[in-house]
Symmetry: C2
Subunit: 250 residues, 2 copies
């Protein structure tokens, strides 16, 4: 080619990506619509395959498009669940035998799998947070509409919960928080730490995340009224599936 590069404008792949992004954000291309593929872009812009791929990669990494092998690249959907940070953990929820999760999905079908319950030595940070060397861990994965949306690991001081239903698959009405209440240690205060980052391989697989999808990491510690930590819950959420809501007063 040897076209004068002018070099002050963005590279070809960026200009192509910009054009497609504009059409997506303007609503001209909608959820689930098919984008022009590699071959189309090569022909339309007279570019090499790698350059066309690079343009599509921009949109994929922005989470605006999803590639489907053998089929095409498609505009991506975003239909989040609203997760209420405070309301969902009110005493009324678990005090009346309802699972916390019900507060989020409001009727939408959800399932839990990959349940694993083990007793093990606590990792340093968990040990520090719970002031315990041994912990019971409850690991699970949540799916809504058959789609995985969250990984969660709950840690409990082993000596405290040993022998309770917290170490069983079926924790009974109200779940683990109701059981902590039975033990005389009802959670009264929570603190949640929230951060976002890109997923790493095990998470990408377990949550079935396409490129360009960050995860939200929520680490929650539950305290009794006297300030004793009784649970640490580490969650990894598909960011495309969630909006977190927090309410508080001045």
């Amino acid at each position: 080619m040897s076209e004068s590069p002018v070099s002050q404008e963005p590279p070809i792949y960026r200009r192509i990506a910009d054009g497609l992004r504009t059409r997506i954000l303007a609503g001209e291309l909608r959820d689930g619509d098919r984008l022009p593929g590699e071959n189309t872009l090569m022909a339309e812009h007279a570019i090499a395959r790698a350059t066309a791929r690079q343009a599509l990669a921009v949109l994929i990494n922005e989470g605006l498009a999803v590639p489907k092998r053998g089929s095409g690249v498609y505009v991506r959907l975003f239909k989040p669940i609203r997760r209420h940070g405070s309301r969902r953990l009110s005493r009324e929820q678990w005090g009346q035998g309802r699972a916390i999760w019900d507060a989020d999905t409001r009727g939408r079908p959800f399932t839990v799998d990959e349940v694993e319950i083990v007793r093990q030595p606590a990792a340093p940070d968990v040990a520090a947070a719970l002031d315990a060397d041994e912990v019971w861990v409850r690991r699970r994965r949540y799916l809504v509409d058959a789609r995985p949306v969250q990984l969660a690991s709950s840690y409990f001081p082993a000596e405290v919960v040993e022998g309770s239903a917290i170490t069983l698959h079926d924790t009974g009405p109200g779940g683990v928080y109701a059981r902590l209440g039975d033990l005389g240690l009802p959670p009264a205060h929570f603190t949640e730490e929230v951060r976002a980052r890109m997923p790493r391989p095990p998470e990408t697989d377990l949550l079935d995340l396409p490129g360009g999808t960050p995860v939200i990491e929520v680490s929650r510690t539950a305290f009794t009224a006297s300030g004793r930590p009784v649970e640490v819950n580490r969650m990894v959420l598909d960011s495309a599936a969630y909006i977190l809501q927090y309410d508080f007063d001045a």
Copy 2:
């Protein structure tokens, strides 16, 4: 080459990325350390340039590495600010003439730039949230240690704040919330919506984000004691710079 592909194992670029990731997460390669570059990987693994690039791109998109042109690819740093969702907005903060931001940075130097204050028609979602057609908007960018970490746009019902210091660059002691108090509309309740996504071009530039860095979107609405919405604040945070903390009771 024509090596038997075996095809059941991951592609070359993935294996290389996996190896480097393991070394990073194990602490063998530390914050700021230089990774083997394209040329090194080409030589070590006898691969083409594009394949080496692809391997490094994996780590960059995971936010574990940052490329510096002309120099190399480096392991990435993560030194977040802890942002207290509730404490920072307590009445004591702005009631005593302190800027809210002080609650976050705790002495670390911060600056504000790109300040823009305009009156304009409200976008549909803001109009709905504030029940107002015209709004005053305060846009700004926050920098900590000379690094941009947050973009923020605050919206106020125009008729309410017209003529107050909220429409000026210097809002006076206690900031805009104290001024709302002066107007007889002190914020009493807040609701924050949090989500994460990959940044789009204007944000990438303004926050100077390297690849693989999601943003956290926080949309906060402030209400008076009587439930009247008086402010909508939309923030975009560099996810590598922040941990959000929320405290609440059962």
